[in-house]
């Protein structure tokens, strides 16, 4: 069943664990969402933001031991909404972006699609 709110949506996936990234892609492709990525490192994510072509991003808080503050800053500056995914508690979030939506790992597909529908640009 395709959620109407996810039609014509392109999502950037920033996630360093390939299994989790693949699972995310599966869930989103099932809903007719187009995926960009996954970006597994901060530098890869910044390159993909530079290239553009997506409306919203799913952002793992930690990429191979590196914090994603720089990625969140860039997205915020570009006015692109994003949702954190994290195995840490809320305290692991970048200080400047504590108000952003967070989904804890492990998550249900529904948590992801709901959050994307709610926070995608209108």
């Amino acid at each position: 069943m395709t959620d109407a709110n996810l039609s014509n949506l392109t999502v950037l996936i920033v996630e360093d664990e390939p299994l989790i990234a693949m699972s995310l892609e599966d869930a989103l492709l099932d809903q007719g969402v187009t995926c960009i990525g996954p970006a597994g490192s901060v530098s890869a994510a910044l390159e993909m933001i530079e290239a553009g072509g997506f409306e919203i991003a799913l952002l793992d808080v930690n990429l191979r031991g590196e914090r994603v503050d720089a990625v969140a800053d860039r997205l915020a500056a570009a006015g692109i909404p994003f949702i954190f995914t994290t195995g840490h508690g809320a305290e692991g979030l970048p200080d400047a972006h504590r108000e952003r939506p967070v989904i804890g790992k492990p998550f249900r597909d529904l948590d992801i699609t709901d959050a994307l529908a709610r926070h995608r640009p209108r």
């Binding site: 360093d16 664990e17 390939p18 299994l19 989790i20 990234a21 693949m22 699972s23 599966d26 990525g37 996954p38 970006a39 597994g40 490192s41 890869a44 930690n62 191979r64 195995g87 840490h88 508690g89 692991g92 804890g104 790992k105 492990p106 998550f107």
Partner: protein, 510 residues
């Protein structure tokens, strides 16, 4: 020679010394006396007078010669009193005094002499004689002896107490030093602080005199902890409850250390607090360990959540790719076991990564032992994430080989080898479909690890009609994660997989 000098007029019977006897008058105090006297008559006279001191029971050991005196001093004790003549045929009183002072410094020594000139008397007292009695006034002996004994007992008691105190202090100091405990004492009225050298060292100060006031101490306390420190000290003084606090201190070199302080207020007779005293302990190591433990717990939580998310992904994708519901449990459990094996290996390596050969051996070991698989290549270090991903990829290849490929036939074999290629020039393609990674320009800037999986001798390979979990994990997941090129080919002669992974801090030759 002038005669008879009375040392002090007030010292007569009935003087304050009369009450110096024991508490129980019924039991005379035993008293061993060494008497140096060559004249038997004089000795008897002395004994007569001693017997008149009724609260003591005297046991008199008389010696007449120098040698007998020395022997008695050496072996005949213990004595409570020494009485000595001044002039002896082979000996003299002053020499006897010198020997006694040297060997038995605590035992009172009294001269009892027929004649003793004033100069001799003064000299004798200077050299440590307790007193003297001239034979013409022998009745003084009782007073002099009683006083000497009482004074000696008091002196000995005091000396014993002092020795016990010194010993107890030494024990306390030893315990404090062994426990690396510093001690301190604060006087409230003056704000003076006395600290031991360990206490000063806990604050990074070599000389305790450098923190002689409470204000000087506060200067050493971390600014963020200063207010709390003062409040707790105030509270301990007003409440009378034990002080127990931990605070940070900044050493002169700028480094931050932790100190634990325990103490208690001291009060005067009226109950007014006069000071505070206690101990201090450097707990920096303990604090660091606590911080490390907290970090480890956070890291563990993160790792568990991440692992759960991986298990969830494996479950979803296994289910998605499973040809039937019945096929799910075996495929899922086998992948979970592969994940657990990787974790076991990484735990043995303290999560500091693993070598490529260790990872290759993890799944393939049974087949290597059977001579079906040949593994070889130079040493390569992998970080934990890469190690897990590669292990899961090998597991998929090996499972496929066992079901449909080289390991499903008796004569089949697998060659898994790898090499490091230099930075310049990109390795030649071997004509199979290639799946590029995320297209990083720095792909071969630092050289690359080229890894080949080649199966042979198995049944003819039929390319799958759709990509399963394994193919997807290798072609998409691994290619993305390692930012490398992955070529997986279902060649009729045998499955082949070729990975070209750029060298980095995650994948590096040893």
């Amino acid at each position: 020679m002038t005669q008879v000098m009375e040392p002090s007029a007030g010292h007569s019977a009935g003087s304050p010394f009369a009450d110096g006897g024991p508490a129980d008058p019924g039991r005379p105090i035993p008293c061993r006396v060494l008497l140096l006297e060559d004249s038997g008559m004089d000795a008897d006279l002395v004994c007569e007078h001693l017997k008149m001191i009724d609260d003591h029971a005297f046991d008199i050991h008389r010696v007449e010669t120098r040698q007998a005196f020395i022997d008695a001093i050496a072996d005949g004790g213990p004595y409570d009193l020494i009485l000595s003549d001044f002039d002896l045929p082979d000996f003299d009183g002053m020499s006897a005094l010198a020997i006694a002072r040297d060997r038995l410094p605590r035992v009172p020594f009294i001269f009892v002499s027929g004649m003793l000139g004033e100069e001799n008397a003064i000299e004798a007292l200077k050299k440590g004689a307790t007193d003297y009695v001239v034979k013409l006034r022998m009745e003084r002996l009782q007073v002099v002896v009683r006083r000497a004994l009482v004074e000696a007992r008091d002196r000995n008691e005091l000396a014993d107490k002092r020795a016990a105190l010194a010993e107890s202090e030494a024990r306390l100091r030893f315990a404090l030093e062994a426990g690396r405990l510093g001690s301190w004492e604060l006087t409230l009225a003056t704000n003076r602080l006395r600290v031991s050298s360990i206490c000063a060292a806990n604050l990074g100060i070599a000389d305790p005199a450098d923190i002689a006031t409470y204000d000087r101490l506060l200067e050493r306390v971390h600014p963020d902890d200063r207010e709390t420190q003062q409040a707790m000290v105030r509270q301990a003084v007003t409440s009378g409850l034990p002080l127990d606090m931990e605070y940070r201190t900044i050493w002169p070199d700028g480094s931050v250390h932790w100190v634990q302080v325990r103490g208690r207020a001291v009060y005067d007779k009226d109950g007014t607090p006069t000071g505070l005293a206690g101990v201090s302990l450097n707990i920096t190591d303990r604090k660091r360990a606590e911080e490390r433990q907290l970090l480890l717990l956070e890291e563990l939580n993160h790792r568990v959540k991440n692992t759960l998310a991986m298990v969830q992904s494996i479950a979803k994708q296994t289910l998605r790719a499973a040809p039937s519901v019945e096929a799910f449990p075996d495929a899922f459990q086998s992948r979970l076991r592969a994940l657990a094996q990787a974790h076991d290996l990484l735990t043995r390596r303290h999560w500091q990564g693993a070598s490529l050969s260790e990872i290759a051996a993890l799944t393939l070991e049974p087949h290597v032992d059977a001579g079906r698989v040949r593994v070889g290549g130079p040493p390569v270090n992998l970080t934990t994430g890469v190690a897990v991903s590669l292990h899961l990829a090998f597991h998929e290849l090996a499972t496929n080989a066992a079901k449909y490929g080289a390991l499903s036939a008796e004569s089949g074999r697998i060659d898994l080898d790898w090499e490091i290629t230099p930075p310049a020039g990109s390795p030649a393609r071997d004509g199979v479909a290639s799946h590029a990674g995320s297209g990083h320009s720095s792909r071969t800037a630092a050289g690359a690890l080229v890894l080949r999986w080649r199966e042979s001798g198995g049944p003819p390979v039929v390319p799958p009609t759709r990509r399963g979990f394994g193919s997807r994990l290798i072609e998409r997941g691994l290619a993305h994660e390692l930012e490398g090129d992955v070529a997986l080919a279902f060649d009729p002669a045998g499955v082949r997989c070729r990975l070209v992974i750029p060298l980095s801090s995650r994948v590096n030759p040893q």
